[in-house]
Symmetry: C2
């Protein structure tokens, strides 16, 4: 047989056969005077074996190693490992399909399903209402959702549960509007203290304690004096990028809220 006949017999291209020669997966056969490779029946069998195993997902390097030595235990080990790998792939695909389904189910197509779609739905309603601050909150959550581990997501979803109650939307809307109204305002604005008080009152105790216990995660400019590591946020500075989109009055509101929560938890 010449290379084209061999390839057609096994159902591959001649390029594939030469590639296997190059990798040492298949021995180079003898050549005729014109340089053509001549194959025998045994070569076809060897090629078919390689193809069969390669199609199962073994890499060609693994295959060469596995077929190189005496073909008994090494190949068995490789196949066992392959099966474990295939099992992992199955599991990974199952999870991917779950997440795709969650994305398709949630009406908007932004990642950030937050376990249950309730929170995402509420924030979507708020941001379509035109609130800049609600939009930022939603962005924060979607970011956290892609970055955090599953257990972190679950914990966050639990903390968010109180905000998914039926009347929570209307009250949140009012507060978000008052926050939005402070865009461009100075930190001394008279609307700041009452808004901070109203906001802090809406935080359930579990969330307040979660915040107070992690004060060192809070950006320095929002942190009450004398708490945690005084120097840096340790967060790499992304919070500064976040705060730079807020007005001084809005920042002051959040600072006051955190101070209030800390006092409450004391």
């Amino acid at each position: 047989m010449r290379i084209g006949e061999l390839a057609a017999l096994v159902g591959v291209t001649t390029r594939t056969v030469r590639h296997y020669h190059h990798l040492g997966l298949l021995p180079e056969p003898v050549r005729r005077a014109n340089g053509y490779r001549v194959y025998g029946f045994a070569d076809a069998v060897a090629l078919a074996r390689v193809r069969h195993l390669a199609e199962l997902g073994l890499s060609l390097d693994e295959l060469r190693d596995a077929l190189a030595d005496d073909e008994g235990r090494e190949l068995r080990e490789v196949l066992l490992e392959l099966d474990a790998d295939l099992a992992r792939q199955q599991e990974a695909i199952r999870i991917k399909r779950q997440r795709v389904a969650a994305l398709l189910e949630g009406a908007d197509l932004r990642p950030g399903s937050m376990g249950s779609a309730d929170m995402a739905a509420m924030l979507r309603d708020l941001s379509t209402g035109g609130s800049r601050i609600a939009d930022m909150d939603r962005d924060l959550l979607t970011l956290f959702d892609t970055v955090a581990e599953p257990e972190g997501r679950a914990r966050m979803a639990a903390l968010m549960r109180p905000f998914t109650e039926p009347d929570a939307l209307a009250r949140a809307q009012a507060l978000y509007r008052r926050l939005d109204d402070l865009a461009g305002a100075a930190s001394g604005d008279p609307r700041v203290p009452p808004l901070a008080a109203d906001l802090a009152a809406r935080f359930p105790d579990e969330m307040a304690s979660a915040i107070v216990e992690n004060l060192d995660q809070v950006p320095a400019r929002l942190r009450p004096p004398g708490s945690g590591s005084g120097t840096g946020a340790g967060d790499g500075g992304w919070t500064e990028a976040l705060l730079s989109e807020l007005s001084p009055a809005q920042i002051e509101v959040f600072r006051l809220v955190i101070e209030t929560l800390k006092d409450r938890m004391r």
Copy 2:
């Protein structure tokens, strides 16, 4: 934020961020005077979205197209197609695991499970017995098994069934030995006609008719005169490679067998 902070926040490398810039997946942000890229919070959100979707298995090209336009229906279509693709992958992996299991179950690790392992087991016993001809038969079957479509494999397995009966092994062993003994013998050897007769007698009618109906698949040198397309085997010449490993006496045996079967089916 600088690029390293952004990357750390979202959990990727800076190389990845620059790669996304290069592909147009993420807009190039403004630069500081020293040439450093400066990112805002919105960039982190955009990057997180890309990562989330990319990790689901979307290609970066698809993602760019899907995120480019108005983000509603195009992304939905892409996700639906992705889910279909994931389903196909699941199915493919399921089949692969079945075949890996079949390989691990069959004691030898040669591909060629033939649906049920019976036939493979018999041929393994024969070839470990040292028979060259049985070895070639086994190679033929493994080759067919990797090359043929599933329905072809099923048909072949059905044809092979009679040979998996308990006493078939012993009788086959004797015949294979007589064939092996003809290695190096001339075509006029007196042992040829009786062996061909005994062999032909062992072929059940279904297999005989399957052979006679496909006489044009049989190499020309084995074909009885005046049957099928007289010119070429049409098989690309691999049968010649196969026959070249046989002695003239062995070839003559097979030719006689086929002739006998043809007469029987007439």
